[in-house]
Symmetry: C2
Subunit: 391 residues, 2 copies
């Protein structure tokens, strides 16, 4: 009796559930400490102490009907102004709270942006491998997802193919850097070139093509690398952000969408994002955590913990013969699977108590994803299983 | 450049913004204390102290990566079990956490239910006056809203017309008791009769017709009245709940959907609600507040404050000649407008610094809504303006 579309989703999701159940089964046989679950992207690093302190201070000092009450669907004005000011300082921009909407995480942000932009049949381009939810979000608004395989050496988007694929129905391009699942970070040069392509095609076609940059991993970078801020390079940009990873708050559903004033149709775009927050049922980003974030703009989780995990796992895998690009951000490795069939490979890995996600889940068969947001000790203990697997 | 659908919404929403701006303008001329804003449903009664205490205790005692982390898209198992147990005790049911999904408020709950049920073109019945967002939510999934005017004496649904309107495309009926905007509470007798109609039509048509009961005002009732729990009367029911009003936490976006095990296609329905939470971008109800709620199941705002407001405003309006049904719940009055054109009436009320919402916003012209979730003193001060208005 459920809808046709949901039938498809429910049957697909039962595969994921089966995998989850299998993990539980393995734990019950071998003990939890001997099962190595690299499948989930749930941050294991603690949120900074400042979060707790901010909550205490807000509950002690601010009126409860303000803290827990309704506000504009766009979020508290003072919170938006503070975040916009912080972004402006960091990236040398002139943004105010009017450029920013508080959202229920990046997932909420992406949905209000796509609701704002898409007419049925409009095309949205992504580069594979990509975070699988993009397909669902685009489908929510009857858009059409167009997948372009990224370069398999660098995992960078192929800009020639991008230029080829853009047509009059192309409404947006979604990028995700630092990237899930590859961990690569797009360079300034790449963003500039991509902006060049988009500007050229906009002019040629006489349309607006929006660049949607999904950046939940913006702060999770290593080796001093900088993530370019797309608003500085391309006019029609949205940056969709979440505090899920930078502050280890994924359950709190708190993030924002920011958009420059020079964006085509700016006033209507911002008003539409506001209305979309309401009519899609988000209403507003959770209120207490909006106020918490505003007090914690200088806080960040200890990224060094992830870096140590990355180094341990990456170095070992490469040493024993896996082929893998070294990630500069996020908390994932995306090695080649040892056999072309990545789903079969994930099954075989399970025999050594290694839970991994096949690349097919990111529309990139022949690879697999490892999330290293688990404890260092657990990773250390797992290395032996990788040795056995490769043999 | 925004989508066609959003253009409509944005132009409509500018009317609401204009009203809001007008309120601000009046305040700047006459002083905020002399402008009587009865237009917003933002609770003014304080959240119970137990909320703050629960937050402190959770942050002190529970591991932060649990408190702020990802969990199942359905919500924490322990939280769902506790709430299900509490409902079971109150309403003599046998529910477990498997019957319940934590949601981003009732708005999130309604959206995952409608996503689960609706194929494009499926019909959803509501009784006018009704909360305007239902129209948007049904439209999100290409459903068709079918509006049946309620009886204008009692504001109860007309069950004969309901029986007439149900056909093979009817997927659901949405009710909202205690009602926004009328404040009436549906009696047990009414719910039983409605269940009778639905059962009869289900059998006749060989379809499943779901009753969706939106209950954010469940706990806001007066004069010892009881709100019947629909799961006890009709098999294919969803109760959609929010803590926005019962705990004055509207900004926190926390609520649930509960559904009985005997519901048609129960397993798929629950799995679909879980998946819909994810793919619509809610992902999960905010995590800290899930855990807060579980510790505050016996808490409630001081409903007596709303009751005093109701009595003051209702008694005065009726005394001076307004025609209005006495509400047994929620915090709204829905009197007849003094002239048939309710939009014009709302304009005239503004001349006396009274901000009210025309009944047309609830698809019920000739009436207007007053929200009495403002301070008692403000209501007292406003009575004089109502006297002038009626003259």
């Amino acid at each position: 009796m459920i809808s046709e579309r949901m039938k498809e989703y429910v049957s697909k999701s039962s595969t994921v559930r089966a995998m989850f159940e299998e993990g539980k089964r393995l734990s019950s046989i071998y003990g939890e400490e001997n099962v190595f679950d690299f499948s989930l992207g749930n941050p294991n690093v603690k949120p900074p102490e400042s979060i707790k302190e901010a909550v205490y201070e807000i509950l002690d000092k601010e009126p409860p009907n303000l803290v827990h009450g309704y506000m504009s669907n766009s979020g508290y004005e003072d919170v938006r102004d503070k975040i916009a000011g912080d972004i402006s300082k960091k990236y040398n921009l002139k943004l105010t709270g009017n450029n920013l909407i508080m959202t229920c995480g990046a997932a909420g942000g992406l949905n209000i942006v796509l609701k704002t932009l898409l007419n049925p049949g409009d095309e949205v381009i992504v580069f594979s491998p990509f975070f699988g939810e993009y397909e669902n979000y685009v489908r929510n608004f009857d858009g059409k997802l167009v997948i372009i395989p990224s370069d398999r050496e660098t995992f960078e988007p192929d800009l020639n193919r991008l230029e080829d694929k853009i047509n009059s129905r192309t409404k947006a391009v979604i990028i995700d850097s630092p990237n899930n699942p590859t961990g690569i970070v797009y360079s300034e040069k790449l963003i500039k070139s991509m902006a060049g392509v988009l500007n050229r095609k906009q002019e040629q076609l006489g349309t607006s093509i929006y660049l949607i940059s999904d950046e939940p991993y913006r702060e999770i970078v290593y080796d001093g690398i900088k993530v370019p801020f797309v608003l500085n390079y391309y006019r029609n940009s949205f940056v969709v952000y979440s505090y899920s990873k930078s502050l280890s708050l994924p359950g709190e559903r708190i993030g924002y969408v920011v958009c420059g004033s020079e964006t085509d149709d700016f006033d209507n775009v911002m008003q539409s994002l506001n209305v979309a927050n309401r009519i899609l049922g988000f209403v507003n980003a959770p209120s207490l955590f909006q106020r918490v974030i505003a007090r914690c703009l200088d806080s960040k989780v200890d990224v060094n913990i992830y870096k140590k995990n990355r180094d341990l796992l990456y170095n070992h895998l490469v040493k024993i013969g896996f082929s893998c690009i070294k990630p500069s951000g996020a908390f994932y490795l995306f090695p080649k699977s040892l056999i072309p069939d990545d789903v079969e490979f994930a099954k075989r890995a399970k025999k050594f108590n290694l839970l991994v996600v096949p690349g097919s889940s990111f529309k990139c068969p022949g690879y697999f994803r490892l999330s290293y947001c688990i404890s260092y000790d657990k990773i250390k203990k797992s290395l032996d299983s990788f040795d056995k697997l490769i043999k």
